[in-house]
Subunit: 213 residues, 2 copies
């Protein structure tokens, strides 16, 4: 059965982004250290076409988030930021000419747009009729493989509140943000989670949960 | 060197108590499941003079929170609840005639009161001149052993913000509360934490951090 798997980096006080997020500072203030654990590992380097990067448990965890993934879902801000209609000339998002997804990617948005075919088997599809439609399209594209939900928080909250997520992996970073975007706000309170795996490193603790339906 | 060790149970969304806390419902609404992991283990049963209780990793973790502890610090609400002066006849707190601490206990309060000697080597001392005074008195009483800081959140936040805590152990319960008392609010943002141990069980994940000074 194809699963919807969500993974995200979160601080110990529950934030996945700082305050004052903007196009220039997409993670918000004080949050630049949030993804340090990922940025230095080999899988991340490969995702961005760069040599090098560390091996080890953090690399293994990041690599596994892509295992058996046949399609990807993300929110509009994670594709390219900004609340308005698409910028001209047509903006191709943060992710470069060869985005690191290598699957069809379904983007939740209010602004229709034709699919955008990128290098490396990534095609961005813009879905304007809601989260269930995006999930149905992603499942069909995944052809039996799992679907990755990769954020941001608002997209994830909608899927969590609707009871559609099968697995959550939190990369829990031992820092506090104190303000910003809080992952579990508006995610519904009736989530039943069962820990299925913990991997701890000095930089981050990876907590994987199954959502009990 | 005597350490100040803080341990507390927290939900995945960062709460250590629900909304609408009261004398009748000291953990607040929806929070009754928060301490299920602890209530069923042998150490907890022993603390309350009861037979039975489960053994296993959750029991080991709870027992270890008492290892090498020579004195205890808690907030006024954790002793006995309520913001006002002491109730008459003199209220002896939630903890029964033989409280589970078996050390001197220093209670942060604005209301002076003579020490209260209980059975089993627990004496409650009421400290009205602030957190540093309470810590100094606790260290002296501990005579080289560690000091346990056991909550509630407001007492802990003051010690965290003042940089006085050496170790935190979070018992992370896979549930959401969505409202209530949030542990890391007002705890300062410059805490530097280093994971030193993780123990995972189906009910709760125990995350121990050293605070880097």
């Amino acid at each position: 059965m194809s699963k919807l798997r969500f993974n995200i980096t979160m601080t110990l006080d529950g934030y996945n982004g700082g305050p004052k997020q903007s196009l220039d500072q997409p993670l918000g203030e004080r949050a630049e250290r949030l993804h340090d654990w990922a940025i230095k590992v080999k899988t991340f380097h490969e995702m961005h076409g760069e040599p090098g990067g560390e091996r080890g448990p953090n690399d293994d965890v990041l690599r596994q988030t892509f295992d058996n993934i046949g399609a990807t879902i993300m929110g509009r801000n994670m594709f390219g930021g900004g609340p308005g209609p698409w910028r001209e000339p047509p903006w191709q998002g943060w992710w470069g000419e060869n985005p690191p997804y290598h699957t069809p990617v379904f983007i939740l948005t209010h602004h229709p747009r034709d699919p955008l075919v990128m290098q490396g088997d990534t095609t961005f599809h813009f879905v304007t009729d809601g989260i269930e439609s995006a999930l149905a399209q992603a499942r069909q594209a995944a052809a039996g493989k799992d679907v990755a939900l990769i954020g941001g928080a608002r997209a994830a909250q909608q899927y969590l509140a609707a009871g559609l997520v099968d697995e959550i992996e939190l990369h829990l970073v031992p820092m506090l943000l104190g303000a910003g975007e809080r992952l579990f706000d508006n995610a519904g309170l009736d989530l039943k989670l069962e820990p299925i795996r913990v991997i701890d490193t000095p930089e981050v603790t990876h907590l994987k949960y199954r959502i009990v339906k």
